[in-house]
C-alpha cells in the first residue's frame, strides 16, 4: 500500500502549484497523482491571460477587481472568497514570474496587462497567447527542482473517508494496470472541469471528464452550482477548439452574415469585450435568428484582418496556427468562423472560502471546485488566478492539517469494490457502446442544456440522461490488457460524465431564473428574491440526486442589475 501524508490529485496548474507550496513548506510526504503527464494538463491550453492588480496598475485596485468579478458572476459568487482571490493576485503573479514564467513585458520592463471581457481596467497579465502553457511548464520545472513525487498516469477511482475525515483513495495504475489503495491524511482534488459532458462541442481536452468531481459525488460530497456551464463565445466552428478571448482583447470584431458588428445591439459600450455569457448568447441569437454566416448559417465571423499581419503574428500566433489547420482560414486574410463552445464549469465540489470540503483533510482547488469565486459566470483571466490562489491556499491548509492529523487506516473494502467493478466492466454484455452513448450524452446536453434553456425541454433532457445512465450499465471494456488500457480509461471517464450530467440538469431545471451562463427562455430575468442562492446536489444511497440550496455570502457589493 502506498502511503503519503498529502496526495494531490491532478497535475495541472492548481495541482502543481499546490505541490510546490506543499513541498517548500513541509517535510511531509507529498505526491501528485495525475492521469496524464503533468505538462499535458489542460491548464496548458489557457491562452489569454491571468487577471491581477499589480503594484504598477495605477488607478486599479483589488476592490475594483473584486467588484468586476462579483458583477461578472451575476452576484452569485461568495464575496468573502472573491476578496481573498483578488487580494492575492499580485502575490501569485510575482511569485510565478520569479520562478520563470515569461510574462510579456511593457517597454519599461514591467509585466504587461491587456483589457479583457468584463473588466473595468486592463488587468490581464499575459505571456503572448500561451499564458497557461508557460505557467504549466514553469510550475512543472519548479516541481522537478523541488523533487516532487509524481504518480504519472494514475487514474482516480474512489475517495475513502469515514464520514468525518479522509483516509485515502483508490486509483488505477494506467501504465502497469491494477487497482491500488493509497493511504493518506489529506487529499487535494485538482482534477479540472467536466465540460466534456458536452462531448461533441467543447473547447476542452479529451480528458476533461470531471473525474474528481464525480468521485466526490459518489463519496457523498455535495456539488455546488452545477447548472452553470460557461459557453465560450469563440470556438472554431468545425471542432469547438478555442480561439482565445485575447483575439477580441487585441481588437478583433464579431460580424454576422451582413458584416454587421452586431455586439452594438447587445452591449453597446463594451461591444466585443462584454463578458463571455453575454457574447455567447448574442452569437447564438444571431445564429438562431438566421443571421449566421456560411452555407448553413451556423457560425459567426471573428474578423482580425484589420489588425494587420505583424500584430496577428506577434500577439496571436497560436490563434493563427489553429485557424489555418482546423478551419483552413488564415486570419491575416480572412475572418475566422466561430460559434459558442462548452468551455468551463463554474460549478463543482462544494468548498468554503479556503477550499475545504465538509470532510476533514479533503480539499478541492481549481475548476473541479466551486468555492465559489465565479458564481454564475466566470470572467476571462480569472480561472488561471483561481487555480494558483487556491492551489496555494489548499496546499497550506492541507499542510497545516496533515501536520497534526493522526495516521489513517483506510479499509480495503473500496479496493475490492473497485477491482470488482473493473472486472465486471470487462465481462459485461456490451449491449451498449461507449462511443454511441457518449455522442448521445453530448447531443442531449447541448440540445437541452445549451446556451439557452427551457423547462419542458430540460425535463425531456433529464429523462434522456437517466435513460443513458441506465443503458450505461451495459457498456463493456473490450481491451482486457493490463498495460495502458485506454479502453478502460475512456469508459471510466464516460461513466464519470454520466454520473455528473443529472447533477447539472436537476438544478438547471429548478433554477427558474436567468443568471450568468444559465439563460432560460421561460424565465429571462434574474430573480434575486427566490434564487440568489447556491444550488447543492448530493447523491443519495439509492442512487437518486437530492437538491438543496445554500445562501450566497454578500459582503461589500449588494446585487444590482448587470449591464455592460
Amino acid at each position: 500500500m502506498l502511503d503519503y501524508d498529502i496526495v494531490i490529485v491532478g497535475g495541472g496548474g492548481a495541482g502543481l502549484y499546490a505541490a510546490l507550496w506543499a513541498a517548500e513548506n513541509t517535510i511531509l510526504k507529498v505526491a501528485v497523482m495525475t492521469k496524464v503527464y503533468p505538462t499535458r494538463s489542460h491548464t496548458g491550453a489557457a491562452e489569454g491571460g491571468i487577471n491581477a492588480v499589480l503594484t504598477h496598475s495605477v488607478g486599479d485596485s483589488p476592490e475594483a477587481h473584486a467588484y468586476d468579478t462579483v458583477k461578472g458572476s451575476d452576484f452569485l459568487a461568495d464575496q468573502d472568497a472573491v476578496d481573498i482571490m483578488c487580494k492575492m493576485g499580485a502575490a501569485v503573479i510575482y511569485d510565478i514570474a520569479h520562478r520563470g514564467v515569461p510574462f510579456s513585458r511593457r517597454p519599461d520592463g514591467r509585466i504587461a496587462q491587456r483589457p479583457f471581457g468584463g473588466a473595468s481596467f486592463p488587468r490581464t497579465c499575459y505571456a503572448a497567447d500561451k499564458t497557461g502553457f508557460y505557467i504549466l511548464q514553469t510550475l512543472y520545472e519548479q516541481c522537478l527542482k523541488n523533487n516532487v513525487t509524481f504518480l504519472n498516469e494514475w487514474f482516480l477511482l474512489s475517495i475513502i473517508h469515514n464520514g468525518e475525515r479522509v483516509e485515502g483513495i483508490t486509483a488505477w495504475d494506467i501504465r502497469n494496470g491494477g487497482v491500488h489503495l493509497i493511504k493518506t491524511k489529506a487529499v487535494i482534488l485538482a482534477t479540472g472541469g467536466h465540460a466534456r459532458v458536452y462531448w461533441n462541442r467543447t473547447s476542452n481536452a479529451l480528458g476533461n471528464t470531471g473525474d474528481g468531481t464525480a468521485a466526490a459525488l459518489r463519496a457523498g460530497l455535495p456539488l455546488k452550482d452545477m447548472e452553470f456551464i460557461q459557453f465560450h463565445p469563440t470556438g472554431l466552428a468545425k471542432t469547438g477548439i478555442l480561439v482565445t478571448e485575447g483575439a477580441r482583447g487585441e481588437g478583433g470584431y464579431l460580424r454576422n452574415k451582413d458584416g454587421e458588428r452586431f455586439m452594438k445591439r447587445y452591449a453597446p459600450e463594451k461591444m466585443e469585450l462584454a463578458p463571455r455569457d453575454i457574447v455567447a448568447r448574442a452569437i447564438q441569437t444571431e445564429i438562431d435568428e438566421g443571421r449566421g454566416c456560411g452555407p448553413n448559417g451556423d457560425y459567426i465571423c471573428l474578423d482580425l484582418t484589420h489588425l494587420g499581419e505583424e500584430r496577428i503574428k506577434e500577439r496571436l500566433p497560436q490563434t493563427r496556427e489553429h485557424a489555418i489547420l482546423y478551419e483552413g482560414v488564415d486570419p491575416v486574410k480572412e475572418p475566422i468562423p466561430i460559434a459558442p463552445t462548452a468551455h468551463y464549469s463554474m460549478g463543482g465540489i462544494d468548498t468554503d472560502k479556503l477550499g475545504r470540503t465538509p470532510i476533514k483533510g479533503l480539499y478541492a482547488a481549481g475548476e473541479c471546485a466551486c468555492i465559489s469565486v465565479h458564481g454564475a459566470n466566470r470572467l476571462g483571466g480569472n480561472s488561471l488566478l483561481d487555480i494558483l490562489v487556491y492551489g496555494r491556499l489548499t496546499a497550506l491548509e492541507a499542510v497545516k492539517y496533515a501536520d497534526d492529523a493522526p495516521e489513517t487506516n483506510p479499509s480495503v473494502a473500496k479496493l475490492k469494490d473497485d477491482e470488482k467493478r473493473i472486472l465486471e466492466l470487462m465481462e459485461a454484455s456490451g449491449k451498449e457502446k461507449v462511443p454511441q452513448l457518449r455522442r448521445e450524452l453530448g447531443e442531449t446536453m447541448m440540445k437541452h442544456f445549451g446556451v439557452f434553456r427551457e423547462e419542458s425541454s430540460m425535463k425531456e433532457g433529464l429523462e434522456k440522461l437517466y435513460g443513458i445512465k441506465e443503458r450505461a450499465k451495459e457498456v463493456k471494456v473490450y481491451d482486457t490488457s493490463k498495460k495502458f488500457n485506454t479502453d478502460l480509461i475512456s469508459t471510466l471517464e464516460f461513466l464519470n460524465l454520466v454520473d455528473l450530467a443529472p447533477a447539472i440538469a436537476i438544478p438547471a431545471i429548478e433554477r427558474r431564473e436567468s443568471r450568468g451562463s444559465h439563460a432560460r427562455k421561460d424565465y429571462p430575468k434574474r430573480d434575486d428574491k427566490n434564487f440568489l442562492k447556491h444550488s447543492v446536489v448530493n447523491l443519495e444511497e439509492d442512487g437518486s440526486y437530492k437538491l438543496s440550496w445554500k445562501p450566497v455570502v454578500i459582503t461589500k457589493f449588494p446585487p444590482e442589475e448587470r449591464k455592460y
Partner: protein
C-alpha cells in the same frame, strides 16, 4: 467518402510475442488524431495511443508516419494522403523509448535525463527580488534570447529523430539541451547554476551531437535544439571547458582558420586527441602518396583582409573571445619560420614569388585577384 489504409503498430508485451501491424481503413478528413479516434470509436477499441488537448499544446500524440515524426493532432490526413499518393500509411511509436503498448512509449527516461541538466530557473537574488511583492524588471528585448526554447512541450519528437541518442544512450536529447539553454541566456539565472549546467551538459553528451539538424526539422513548435547545442558549446569554451575533444576541435578550427585560412591536417590529431605520433605518420604517408605537404598550411592570398572579415563574423556572433590569440601568435611564428618572412607581408611575398615563377598565368591571376 475517400478513405485510406493505416497500418498501425500493435504490441502488448504481455500478450504478443512480437509486434505486428494491423490495417484499418479510415476516412481522409481532419487530422491523423481524428483518424485514430475513429478507429478507437468505430473499429477497434483496444488500440492504445496518447492524446489529450487536440490542439497541439499538450504534446501527447507524437508518433511516426512512414518513419517521419509527426504530431497526430497537427497532421492533416489530406496532406498525408497527397504526400504519400494514397499509399498505406504506416503508423509507428516514437523511437529510442521502450514501447509500453501499441503507440504508447515510456517517456520517463528522457525526462530523467533532462532533469540532470537543471532545466529550471535558479534565481540570482541580485536580479530576482526575494520579496514576493517586488517585481523583477525584464525588458522585452532580453526575452528574445529564449523566445523559441520556452515553446518546448515535451513531445519527444526530437528525441525520437536524434542520431546522437541512437549512438549514445547517455546522450541527454535535443529538447533537454534546449530547455537547459533557455536558462543560460536568462539574466535572472545565477552564474553558478549556469556553470553547473555547462558541466552537466558536457557529461551529458554536449559534444556528441553530430549537428544532423533533424531535431530542428521535426520540432512542431519551432524550437531549434541543434542551434542551442552549438551555443551551449560556445558557452562551454568561453567558460574554459576546453578539455573535451569536441571543444578542442572547435578551438583548432577557429584558431587555425583565423591564422592561416584553413585547418591544419597535420596538427589536428595532436591538438584534439593529444596524439603526438600522428604528425610524423601523416607526413610520411602524404609524402608516399606524392602529395605536397607543409608543416603549416600555405597562407592564402589576401589573408589579412580575410582575418578582418572573419573577426567581424565572430564578433557579430559574440564569439570573438573564442579566438585564442596566444595560439594564433604561435602559429604566426611557425609560418614566419617556415616561409622565412614576417606574417604581415609573407602572404603577398610567397605569392609574388609564385607569380613570377608562373609567368604569364601568374600575371593573369594577379589581374583577376584585383591587384
Amino acid at each position: 467518402m475517400e478513405t485510406v489504409k493505416l497500418q498501425v503498430f500493435r504490441y502488448d508485451p504481455e500478450k504478443d510475442s512480437s509486434p505486428y501491424y494491423k490495417e484499418y481503413e479510415v476516412p481522409v478528413e481532419g487530422t491523423l488524431l481524428n483518424a485514430l479516434l475513429y478507429i478507437k470509436d468505430n473499429i477497434d477499441p483496444t488500440l492504445s495511443f496518447r492524446a489529450f488537448c487536440r490542439s497541439e499544446v499538450c504534446g501527447s500524440c507524437s508518433m511516426r508516419v512512414n518513419g517521419k515524426v509527426k504530431l497526430a493532432c497537427k497532421t492533416s490526413m489530406k496532406e498525408l494522403v497527397e504526400t504519400w499518393k494514397g499509399k498505406p500509411l504506416r503508423i509507428d511509436p516514437l523511437k529510442h523509448m521502450n514501447v509500453i503498448k501499441d503507440l504508447v512509449v515510456d517517456i520517463d527516461k528522457p525526462i530523467e535525463k533532462m532533469k540532470t541538466l537543471i532545466p529550471w530557473l535558479v534565481p540570482d537574488p541580485r536580479v530576482v527580488p526575494t520579496d514576493p511583492m517586488h517585481e523583477s524588471i525584464i525588458y522585452p528585448e532580453e526575452m528574445k534570447a529564449y523566445k523559441d526554447q520556452i515553446n518546448c512541450m515535451l513531445c519527444f519528437s526530437c528525441y525520437s529523430a536524434c542520431e546522437a541518442v541512437e549512438d549514445n544512450s547517455r546522450y541527454r536529447g535535443p529538447f533537454a539541451f534546449s530547455r537547459a539553454y533557455r536558462f543560460q541566456v536568462d539574466r535572472r539565472d545565477i552564474e553558478t547554476a549556469k556553470e553547473r549546467r555547462i558541466r552537466y551538459s558536457i557529461s551529458g553528451g554536449l559534444w556528441s551531437c553530430v549537428q544532423c539538424q533533424k531535431c530542428l526539422y521535426v520540432c512542431p513548435k519551432g524550437v531549434k535544439p541543434a542551434e542551442d547545442i552549438q551555443n551551449l558549446r560556445g558557452q562551454a569554451i568561453k567558460k574554459g571547458f576546453t578539455d573535451k575533444p569536441g571543444a578542442k576541435k572547435l578551438k583548432h578550427y577557429v584558431d587555425w582558420i583565423y591564422a592561416t585560412g584553413q585547418i591544419n591536417r597535420l596538427y589536428l590529431p595532436e591538438e584534439v586527441y593529444g596524439n603526438k605520433e600522428a604528425k610524423d605518420k601523416l607526413t610520411k604517408a602524404f609524402q608516399e602518396m606524392g602529395v605536397e605537404v607543409w608543416e603549416v598550411p600555405k597562407p592564402t592570398k589576401g589573408l589579412m583582409k580575410f582575418r578582418d572579415i572573419y573577426l567581424e563574423i565572430l564578433s557579430k556572433e559574440d564569439k570573438a573571445l573564442d579566438l585564442d590569440f596566444s595560439h594564433v601568435r604561435k602559429i604566426d611564428k611557425m609560418v614566419s619560420d617556415i616561409f622565412k618572412a614576417d606574417i604581415c607581408t609573407i602572404v603577398d611575398r610567397v605569392h609574388e614569388r609564385e607569380d613570377k615563377a608562373k609567368g604569364l598565368i601568374g600575371k593573369l591571376k594577379g589581374l583577376i585577384g584585383g591587384k
